[in-house]
Subunit: 339 residues, 2 copies
DNA sequence: CTTGGCACTCTAAGATAAAGAGTGCTAATT
DNA sequence: AATTAGCACTCTTTATCTTAGAGTGCCAAG
């Protein structure tokens, strides 16, 4: 079954995909001869396209219509792109506004990415577990309300409000923070979490409640926290696409967008892989349900991949341009982190 | 022109509005006689409806169709509701989960409101200018990066990261915070802002950059800040409504939703007024453009109205239920603030 | 193997017709 | 004088039919 495509077949397939990405309408053999110069007649192209149909790369909405690429065709096209195009030369090299606030940076990146891609962009802030802890400070807000601020290795603050059953004096809090800073500085939250559960026997009793909540030892708020760390922009761009003219499809996609947890999971899966990744239609349950594709790349903080940026678009996405754009944006964020 | 409607005319008008709110289809004289028992024949109702049409309360899509309420009719109906119904008895009295975090509370309220109303909900966090300042604390994050945390009168923290041209020692920062806490505790940010510009001559030079950024004296980030303090939930509910089947209308509304600044302005306008407010269609530019209505109520913090909750729905909204719901939710938030 | 030619297929768009809901008016009734 | 029944008329909606057009599939010739 798995026959190698001849060079010429590949060219025709590529041409069909490219053409369909532009027009979103079934591609006829005639229009291929007009747009591309293969030195072949429409009839020949027609024969080749019939073969490609049999191989599962193209399909016909009905007998007397042009051909439409299948997901297999997009996969073939994208794999070719990812092989060939390691240079990413053709996109405009934008810059992000300088800012001290990480969230602002990511928000900006997401907005820019949505505008330049013309699709919806999605940016996930660093996974909290991977963050490197530097030091912590406690501030008493009200009687039993304590604000914990921890600062990360790269100088970003996170704050957590904790309600205590019994009040703690500022002196006690300072003592506790000194201990924590001394013992856990420069370690990841994940490590700290594990250590805290085994070490800290003497302090534990008195501060148990506080520590559990601050380091979220029972991982209660993790999902909700991460949910707030997701930037989704340009979703309305999707509505301008011809494949999303039916209200039902728009509805389904936007309901999915509201479920941020599912999106976080989707991005999370791609964190560990190298370079830009492309998920096409039914290669993923979320995408399949909404007939769309995802181009995604992770950004680094230090030497670890901690977050991801991506673009959600139609299966008929301009993969070439978007892959470059996503890859570039991820690198931009990695670079901004360094300063 | 402004003739008083007879009691009977009012009843027919009300019946037409109520019926149309349910069905979203033009209301015929016959269907009125079926649904309501006025002891009148269809022909009589027909005559009355013709009068109401002449008075601008009803209109006909075409000669041989039923009647549809105009905005004037909704206004009449809503004014009647607001007069009569100060009791709000008929909605279910839900509760919000206890939480220490104000944003979580507002987010929860927004989600609940959208689910219970069946429309889109919108919740604005307290306007930052109205917040009562309690004390401030500075933490050095990196060389020239300072984190300022100010705590409000009711114990909620806000933090701002400031990048300085020159570093300040922790000692200096502590001295400055002591001065600020001493001088400005229990005053609103708006007041503090005004005072800072005139007072603080001696400290000003050295700390000018820091103070300007922390208290946002040039109001640069205010809009962006407020933008992040807006919770919009259940927007996809709107897509289920028959008036939003056309993709163009959905698109327009969702593009408007992305413009959070406009929404903030819309809510802001209503902050000072007493009780639940209703804006119907063309009574507001934003709503007119998207053919929808807004029910809104402000919540208090102390004795000042600081934020607002609302519901955005079709002009054919179930005002009765929604007004009660919005009013109740606003009161719930006000109450939660007190603890 | 490639190509021109041509009959055939299927959709999309326009045209026509019939059904149905509701009005507006008139004349009869209370 | 207000109310009601009756009925012709209007306008939309839905279904059916027709036609134009794009594109294929296949055959026979190059």
């Amino acid at each position: 079954m798995e026959v190698e495509l001849s060079h010429r077949d590949q060219d025709i397939l590529k041409a069909t995909v490219i053409s369909y990405i532009k027009t979103a309408a079934p591609i006829g053999s005639r229009s291929i001869t007009k747009q591309f110069d293969f030195g072949l007649s429409a009839a020949t192209i027609r024969n080749i396209m019939a073969d490609l149909k049999d191989l599962g790369f193209l399909l016909q909405p009905h007998t007397s219509a042009g051909r439409v690429p299948t997901e297999k065709a997009y996969r073939f096209y994208v794999d070719l792109l990812l092989e060939e195009n390691r240079d990413l030369s053709e996109i405009e090299h934008y810059q992000l506004a300088k800012t001290e606030d990480l969230n602002t940076l990511l928000h900006d990146a997401s907005k820019t990415l949505s505008i330049l891609s013309g699709y919806a962009s999605i940016v996930m802030a660093p996974r909290i577990e991977t963050i490197i802890f530097k030091h912590i400070k406690f501030i008493s807000l009200k009687k039993n309300l304590i604000l914990a601020i921890f600062v990360t290795g790269d100088g970003h603050p996170y704050n957590i409000t904790v309600e205590m059953d019994e009040p703690l004096s500022q002196k006690e809090l300072d003592r506790l923070s000194a201990i924590i800073n001394d013992r856990y500085s420069d370690r990841s939250l994940d490590e700290i979490r594990k250590s805290l559960l085994t070490e800290m026997h003497e302090e534990k009793k008195r501060y148990e409640q506080l520590l559990i909540k601050v380091f979220d030892l029972n991982k209660k708020n993790l999902n909700e926290f991460q949910e707030n760390q997701l930037f989704l922009e340009g979703t309305t761009n999707i509505m301008d696409l011809p494949e999303f003219t039916e209200t039902e499809k728009i509805k389904s996609l936007f309901k999915a967008f509201e479920e941020k947890v599912a999106l976080v999971k989707l991005l999370d899966r791609c964190l560990s892989s190298e370079g830009p990744q492309v998920l096409i239609g039914s290669e993923n349950a979320f995408l399949e349900a909404n007939e769309c594709s995802l181009v995604i790349s992770s950004y680094r903080l230090g030497e670890k991949d901690v977050g991801a940026v991506g673009v959600i678009g139609p299966i008929r996405m301009e993969y070439h341009r978007v892959i470059s754009l996503v890859d570039y944006t991820a690198k931009l964020i990695t670079k901004a982190h360094l300063c």
